[in-house]
């Protein structure tokens, strides 16, 4: 396991931990951006260039900015008086630890059955484009429909109501 992998994985996990632990919500959003960037670097380490650049473009360029705008529009930058963790935080922590224990046991227990080093599949952008238009054209169209529905839905949900409805 190379040093580069440990460094990038460390960065990603540190960003994720900061994103769920920090008190200031905007700092959480910026730590989330660091986690996304670390994830993109992990994709590049795995020779998945298209996925890595799409991750930066979509997650950092759009989702992170969306989260930040939502925090600002809901006055999230003021710290609440009762603290930032909910009343049942211990139960949540135990559940998350349990999930990690199960997943970790499954991964380490099946280490013998996992595939070993294989050559990286060379996937060019041309092949992705061809596949999107031939084999995956139905998921592509459905995702297009889904994105349109989400766009219209988000606009309608977040729109200011007219004065008469109050």
């Amino acid at each position: 396991m190379s040093l580069v992998f440990y460094a990038i994985a460390g960065l990603t996990l540190a960003g994720a931990l900061a994103a769920v632990l920090l008190k200031n919500t905007v700092h959480c959003a910026l730590a989330l951006t660091v986690a996304f960037a670390g994830q993109a670097l992990l994709f590049l380490e795995l020779d998945a260039q298209f996925a890595g650049f799409a991750q930066i473009l979509v997650y950092i360029g759009a989702v992170a900015v969306l989260v930040v705008f939502a925090i600002l529009l809901t006055r999230g930058s003021e710290t609440p008086k009762d603290g930032v963790y909910s009343r049942n935080w211990l139960a949540g922590l135990v559940i998350a630890a349990g999930v990690f224990a199960v997943l970790g046991w499954a991964v380490l227990g099946s280490a013998r059955a996992l595939p070993h080093e294989t050559a990286a599949p060379t996937v060019t952008v041309l092949q992705i484009g061809n596949a999107l238009m031939s084999r995956y054209v139905l998921p592509l169209e459905i995702v297009a429909l889904l994105l349109t529905a989400a766009l219209i839905g988000a606009v309608i949900v977040a729109m200011h109501e007219k004065e008469g409805h109050k």
Partner: protein, 103 residues
């Protein structure tokens, strides 16, 4: 420990951190942040298996991950729109205070 096991463990850890965040924080937006972390962990799993697994189909893993990224962005948009509308109605995003069905 094979490289694949390393990536799967990182993904599992990322998933549980996201789950812990979604279950323990008060602010609704931080729950959505936790959900985004969980989706990222799943994408990491997909790409790790695409890289290190056998390849009957050279593209499936990458395509799955790309569609997952697109759908996650759409879901984040709708979720955050809902949070904004709830804030407009209840003047708070604190989930512990939203324990009544009365509008």
């Amino acid at each position: 420990m094979t490289p694949l096991a390393g990536y799967l463990l990182v993904a599992a850890l990322l998933f549980s951190i996201g789950l812990a965040g979604a279950l323990t924080r008060r602010n609704a937006i931080l729950v959505l942040i936790g959900i985004e972390l969980m989706l990222n962990a799943a994408n990491l799993n997909l790409i790790a298996f695409w890289r290190y697994g056998p390849h009957p189909e050279a593209l499936t893993g990458m395509m799955f991950a790309i569609f997952s990224i697109a759908v996650a962005a759409a879901e984040a948009a709708v979720g955050l729109g809902l949070v904004i509308q709830i804030h407009r109605h209840a003047h708070t995003t604190d989930l512990d205070q939203m324990n009544r069905m009365k509008g």
